[in-house]
């Protein structure tokens, strides 16, 4: 017999009776005491989501956030013992959560916050020495076949909404009233030293970096970037990545990185 099965089922389902084999010293209804466990599980997991998605909470208010998160927790309790990894499908849940339908950008703000959490805890990777890249860039005839490897913390978000501005407004960097949420934006999230940065990038930059992440060399990565955005500026994009410490290796040959 697995008595923890009953206990477990009742924890996440408020409609279920509390387990049958509980007792209390004074004969009082154990349901009132079992409710402590129900509350601990639910509220600690809601707290974990609130810590990971602070801007989503600011956008909808604490009461709405906690009610929404409670539905999510009951529907998708953690499948990991590492709470930093909990909530990976919270943005998708938000997208389908009808009461939040009046804020169509909410799910993408959650996606941006998820990228920030991932970047914060991602594996460390030393940035490439700029002189190595400068030397490689100084050989124009081989530029097209140069491959760059980017830091594990790096993430991209292609949004139909002004996610970068919405996020920045909640950091006090600009006034929320000035943000038009329906303006499409692309975000680059990375970790520069110990600090996670959210950078607004152009569509061509996003396509280019996506191609780099797929292992394409510079030449093959530049083509789709220019096709999607004729203003794409390879030099400016590389300079931005380099400044942020996002490039960790460069090589002409997948097997042998340059020193």
């Amino acid at each position: 017999m697995n008595s923890q099965q009953d206990f477990f089922a009742a924890l996440l389902d408020p409609e279920r009776d509390c387990p049958a084999d509980l007792k209390t010293w004074n004969g009082s209804d154990p349901a009132a005491r079992f409710a402590v466990y129900r509350n601990n599980v639910l509220s600690s997991l809601i707290d974990a989501l609130a810590a990971s998605f602070p801007v989503v909470q600011q956008l909808v208010g604490e009461a709405f956030f906690r009610a929404m998160a409670a539905v999510y927790v009951r529907h998708s309790p953690p499948r990991t013992r590492i709470l930093a990894d909990y909530g990976t499908d919270f943005p998708t849940f938000i997208e389908g959560f009808a009461p939040a339908g009046s804020l169509p950008y909410l799910a993408d703000v959650a996606r941006l916050e998820l990228l920030r959490i991932r970047a914060y805890h991602a594996a460390d990777a030393a940035p490439l020495n700029p002189t190595v890249l400068a030397a490689a860039l100084a050989v124009p005839e081989r530029l097209g076949s140069l491959r760059l490897r980017l830091q594990p913390a790096l993430g991209l978000l292609d949004s139909a909404f002004a996610v970068v501005s919405l996020w920045a407004a909640h950091q006090g960097a600009l006034a929320l009233a000035e943000v038009d949420p329906d303006q499409a934006q692309c975000a680059l999230v990375l970790r520069n030293g110990l600090a996670v940065e959210v950078l607004g990038i152009r569509r061509g930059d996003l396509v280019f970096i996506q191609a780099l992440l797929q292992g394409q060399p510079l030449g093959a990565a530049t083509q789709p970037a220019l096709a999607s955005d004729p203003t794409f500026d390879l030099g400016a994009c590389l300079a931005q990545l380099l400044r942020a410490g996002a490039i960790t290796h460069c090589t002409y040959d997948k097997q042998r990185p340059l020193p």
Binding site: L45, R79, R81
Partner: protein, 301 residues
């Protein structure tokens, strides 16, 4: 059953005997990293929750590495689910082994509780029925952990809100038997002992004296919240979000008189106050520790 004690050589190499100093320590919180490095506060050790550091890289490892260079460390697990009616998660145990290998903590502890069911992690320390089936299971899990980690585990007594009708022994006897069978140590949470004694109308003195006090390797102190059960009786909630209660300080003093100065952690996991308030609480514990004569156990160590 396999017995791993901290002084036992396990591979023919000289015995390693990592121990926390018998001083007051505090929980390490990310909002305090920089202040700790700037100020080097006089605490005996820091404690972290293992699961917070099972991440690949970034600031958590950066700061823990720097702080570990300066202070003794206790790693406290909350996710092993030692009491679960299912096998231990081997992957989780392997991750813990790597973390302990990396930081070489002076103590590793876990809870007499379960927190997972199937592949779901509930993030709470759930209560166990104290019967022979649970005893066999918990001991097997502790054996597995100690033999994988090649070190002694300190097992923490839980704070509980319900008891099970089919329990066949009391909690202190259960813990005593686990310690006897596995050679694990005891992390005596004095607040939990107080909370459970109020919640279940136990005699806290009798409870403490029935525990295997010789095996205590660390003490936890924390605050609780107060509620009422369905009959209107006091129901204390172990919330780690308040200062230590006066009754728990008194109990702590009595424990020190019984077992001598013992590494003592001030736990605060919710409503984290400024570092100075945590340090003040630790100083209070330190003053009580300083007032205790070394026991024979420590004098001969």
């Amino acid at each position: 059953m396999m017995i791993v004690s901290p002084t036992q050589a396990t591979n023919g190499a000289p015995a390693l005997s990592p121990q926390l100093p018998p001083r007051a320590g505090i929980g390490l919180k990310s909002q305090h990293y920089q202040q700790i490095l700037e100020r080097n506060p006089a605490v005996g050790f820091f404690e972290v929750h293992a699961e917070n550091y099972l991440v690949a890289g970034g600031p958590f490892h950066h700061y823990l590495g720097l702080i570990r260079e300066r202070y003794p460390l206790s790693i406290h697990g909350v996710g092993l689910s030692l009491g679960a009616q299912q096998p231990l998660d081997r992957e989780h145990l392997e991750r813990l082994a790597s973390l302990l290998e990396r930081y070489q903590p002076q103590a590793f502890s876990e809870h007499l509780a379960w927190s997972s069911h199937g592949d779901v992690f509930l993030n709470d320390l759930l209560p166990l029925a104290y019967d022979n089936a649970t005893l066999t299971r918990v001991c097997a899990h502790i054996d597995q952990v100690q033999s994988r980690l090649q070190r002694q585990l300190l097992l923490e007594n839980p704070a509980t809100y319900v008891e099970f009708a089919h329990s066949s022994m009391d909690e202190a006897a259960f813990i005593g038997e686990v310690v006897r069978r596995t050679g694990c140590g005891l992390l005596l949470d004095v607040n939990n002992a107080y909370v459970s004694s109020i919640n279940h109308h136990w005699d806290v003195q009798a409870y403490l004296h029935a525990l295997p006090l010789h095996a205590v390797g660390e003490i936890h102190l924390a605050g609780f919240a107060e509620d009422r059960d369905a009959a209107g009786e006091r129901l204390l909630i172990d919330n780690h979000g308040a200062p230590v209660d006066a009754a728990v300080w008194r109990l702590y003093t009595e424990v020190l008189q019984l077992i001598g100065a013992t590494p003592t952690l001030l736990e605060r996991d919710n409503a984290i106050p400024p570092l100075d308030l945590l340090l003040e609480e630790a100083q209070h514990a330190q003053a009580l520790l300083d007032a205790i004569q070394p026991t024979r156990r420590q004098a001969s160590a």
